[in-house]
Symmetry: C2
């Protein structure tokens, strides 16, 4: 049976020694969230995830969700109880505004808790995860009246949230949305249409579901400029917080899919369902993007989460499974050695781990930017944080999910044939991780967002500032032990600068050139960013050691930093070479020959 | 619904123009298999695979295999009929000796047919595929009496075969096998033990199943030197070909696993089951290796097969799915463009295709070596072919399955969310492809076989000769159009030479250094070999064009060759850099810190 132990100590090291949590105490909300408080919160979260979420992950996958003849959906055994414990513990509203009953903690803390929860049980975590994103969108754009009616219940986890974008004929291209909204003359709209792939669209975990639906008001312009966002509840909210009328929306079916079987992926039918505008008419995409940006970071953390739980189980298996002898000890009789003696098994494990620790650091780093962007009173600081967050969001979404999936596959490989059968849970991690590369914008779309929008925006201000920060960190790490790490990061920094320059030069003349290199650029920037994190982690580990702390974990961090920089970071050179190939080789083959 | 069209024309081009099939007509068996005959065979095979195998692939996955209370196993609907058509068409014994009723065609032809069949329905193809490997082992090592009793039925597909190696405590490390064989004093043995992960261990496709079982004769030495191979039939064969006594073996359960649901993966219990020795006592591993080597090429072809069928479906989807506009045409009204206009979609598709065509060439090239090794009367030619085949078998198994899986994932990505749901079949290709990286020796074990045995054997004779052949092909391709391909292959050839030298220099002192680089070395050699194939394919395409043949497919081959050499082959430099990292960074972290 698989197991999971939340990496609380590692997170605390990251927050304190690498990200210097205490330097943020001047930010609103951070004063009450000193490291001691955060530690208490994380240890509580770890307990809940390990004891309530994880034990029903494998069984939830096996059982899946069931749509009943009346259109209701039954989640797997135990999900209801675990969800209740989560909601009642205040975890849904962990970083929500205290005005709506939230805990008001930094988003960074919620993001870390989300990693723990997704590692323990991704399907279950998606239900409150979507609620959190819906809360953010409603809070940012809805009228005060809607907020008062819906936010307290959502923050308390009594009602859940969803996002409804996709239709059969449109996924990425939201301009093709046809769901219609017709004014009812009483301040609301009637929605008509079908949405597909709606995660948590119907379930039995709580009494009400608040759907945020992109639709087109009668007479609106075509394309994305005619989209509006609506709040469409399963049951209308009465002012006293009780449930009103059942809305005319229903779950038509649930998808049979590769993984996340414990989460109901629904076809949602809106048959004149009553909905209220969130934000301005025809500005729905902007409102939805609040939800999507937060959700993208959440998906990045799911990728990391699957990588982490897969790693933990593979490492344990490698320490325990006796098979073969260490090289050079062939022919020795007696029992076999644990397979962790084999260099190739270690290669697999360390490749995962060298990613996980840096990815967790980068996600926390970006989450901190999200906090600063949200609460800072200093306009310059706020702008800087927004730049950084905007730049890193597609990178985190794309890279952490691509690598998270690859790592789940690697961890499964450590188990040999035992990884292919269901009982060890490894194949579930692979199947669950796979969706993270697709939803909330497929990773190719993230790459286009990065290269087409985030990098060129404002004359490249965000990317230049981030690369300069990395550059500065090189001079800030003079220690001799850091030399190989510093050199490797420096070389990769040169690669991303050259790639950026190449895209600038060649993408303007022909946008296909930028698009052709976008995917490699995303991974190149991700590789550099993770190398930067390793430099900071290694520096922090050295500092602790020089303060007299001796721990094998600190030595391991230094070795992992070198491992990453020696074996993984050099990939940036290959990415640069591919980017320089441009679009010609891609575009010159006629479509009909494919 | 997924579809499949066997690439017959492409195969014929490979055989005629790239591999010069007619130059082999002097080999026994090749005279009757001229290209016109091969074409007829392949078109028949394509029809059967497309019309009988493919339509029950998705349904077979959904339905899976069922173990009944009496221990029998029911395969998915339609499998029995499709299997019967296959067996009655003579496909099981396509390359088997005509003395046993086989068609006596070259193994190369059978290998190509196996790719078609596995692309159409991998689970179903595994049943006769294992029979083919069992036939090879029995033919090579069993007594004349056993051959006469069993081979005609197996070759006819009336009885199927299996291989029984794995036990709960041993997978890779066969020395740990504990299944016991006790002489019964009447020329046979009684087997006691449990085998796991036995593909096609029990099923309803044919009346009898012939298990080849590795076990330890009472008093045999420990380790692999005490293993013997036994033929253990479900029903004993009577001399008249009818079924005798039911043997005391049974399927204890079938595994719940990630994919290949249509194939029954069984726990097999041998409770004093009667078996006959195949080959000499305590030489079972050598006999089993005949089966495993053939099976490894078969698994390589499964990897390619999943990549091919996934590609075909993704390419079709990309040509048909309307979503978004081509870059530079944003804001245009009217309907959307097919997604194949997007460079990043093309990047995904071409990455797959640039692999598939070269991988198919390399597999056919190696299969031809298998034929030469088997039938050549010239000892020097035979030895050369054995060297080449031995060297390439682990590379094909490791690289074609790793990349085959990656490509299935890429092809799934082209579908976005529609790739994650079951109905398009893309997620099945991913799940089915995943096992190919694991069974018949996990890919890490292939890499160790390559670096620890195949490369150093006979003073490196096989690798030197192969690299010299590639080198010679560079001078044999002076055409200006081939310049970028030639240069790229040349550079990668230098990488593999340097890597080989590094391993030689550093692996002797510390075998961990060789093991640490083994995986990258396998992929480095695979990358070079595929580049070599592209050089040959491109040269052949140019030659056809210069003969006045104009076809967009020929132009596409030239472009794909450049695509492979520009974007994919440069990976060899990264592999070399990793190999040079050696073992130190892997081995220096204590096991308990993992």
């Amino acid at each position: 049976m698989p197991s999971y132990s939340a990496p609380v100590d590692e997170v605390l090291f990251l927050l304190s020694d690498v990200l210097h949590w205490d330097r943020h105490s001047n930010l609103p909300g951070f004063g009450e969230a000193d490291l001691a408080t955060v530690e208490i919160v994380l240890r509580e979260a770890a307990k809940l995830c390990e004891q309530a979420f994880q034990p029903i992950n494998l069984t939830g996958d096996r059982e899946g969700c069931r749509r009943n003849p009346d259109g209701s959906v039954t989640t797997p055994a135990g999900f209801k109880e675990a969800y209740r414990a989560y909601a009642q513990g205040g975890w849904v509203g962990l970083s929500a505004d205290s005005a709506w009953g939230g805990q008001g903690l930094p988003y960074t803390v919620a993001s870390i808790v989300n990693e723990f929860a997704a590692a323990a049980n991704m399907s279950l975590t998606m239900y409150p995860g979507l609620t959190q994103s819906a809360i953010a969108a409603v809070n940012a754009h809805a009228s005060q009246e809607l907020k008062q009616l819906y936010l307290p219940k959502m923050v308390a986890g009594e009602w859940s949230g969803t996002m409804n974008l996709t239709e059969p004929q449109c996924g990425t291209d939201l301009g093709l949305i046809t769901t219609q909204a017709i004014e009812d003359g009483r301040g609301a709209y009637r929605l008509h249409g079908t949405k597909i792939f709606i995660s948590a669209g119907e379930h039995d975990l709580c009494e009400n579901i608040v759907h945020l639906v992109l639709a087109r008001i009668e007479g609106a312009p075509p394309g994305t400029k005619g989209l509006s966002l609506f709040l469409v509840p399963k049951f209308e909210a009465r002012p006293d917080g009780s449930l009103g009328e059942r809305n005319t929306l229903s779950c038509g079916s649930i998808e049979h899919k590769m993984g996340i079987h414990g989460n109901a992926t629904c076809v949602m039918n809106y048959d004149g369902a009553r909905g209220w505008l969130v934000g301005e008419a025809n500005r729905g995409l902007a409102a939805m993007f609040v939800m999507m940006n937060e959700a993208r970071l959440g998906v990045a953390s799911q990728g990391l989460a699957q990588s982490e739980v897969a790693y933990q189980n593979a490492a344990r298996y490698a320490r325990e499974r006796l098979q073969g002898r260490a090289l050079g000890r062939r022919g020795a009789n007696g029992r076999a050695d644990p397979i962790i003696v084999h260099p190739d098994v270690r290669r697999m494990l360390l490749s995962i781990r060298a990613f996980n620790e840096a990815a967790r650091a980068l996600l926390a780093y970006a989450s901190l930017q999200a906090d600063v962007a949200r609460v800072s009173a200093d306009p310059a600081e706020k702008l800087h944080a927004e730049d950084r967050l905007g730049l890193l969001t597609p990178v985190l979404k794309g890279v952490l999910t691509d690598r998270g999936f690859d790592n789940a596959v690697l961890a499964q490989q450590v188990f040999g044939g035992h990884g292919y059968v269901a009982e060890h849970g490894m194949e579930q991690f692979v199947r669950d991780a796979r969706i993270t590369m697709i939803y909330e914008g497929a990773n190719g779309v993230q790459a286009l967002d990065l290269v087409g929008r985030k990098v060129p925006r404002d004359g490249g201000r965000a990317i230049r500032s981030f690369l300069d920060e990395i550059d500065a960190s090189l001079s800030d790490a003079p220690e001799q032990e850091l030399e190989p790490i510093r050199l490797a990061v420096k070389e990769s920094l040169e690669h991303i600068r050259q790639a950026s320059f190449w895209l600038l030069e060649n993408g303007l003349a022909n946008p296909d050139n930028a698009a052709a290199g976008s995917y490699d650029y995303m991974h190149l920037l991700g590789g550099v960013a993770l190398g930067y994190m390793w430099l900071r982690i290694a520096k922090a580990a050295l500092l602790r050691k020089s303060a007299g702390v001796e721990a094998p974990e600190l030595d391991a961090k230094l070795r992992l930093a070198k491992f990453y920089c020696g074996r993984m970071l050099p990939e940036t050179g290959l990415r640069l070479a591919r980017i320089r190939c441009g679009a010609q080789d891609l575009m010159s083959i006629p479509a009909e020959v494919f």
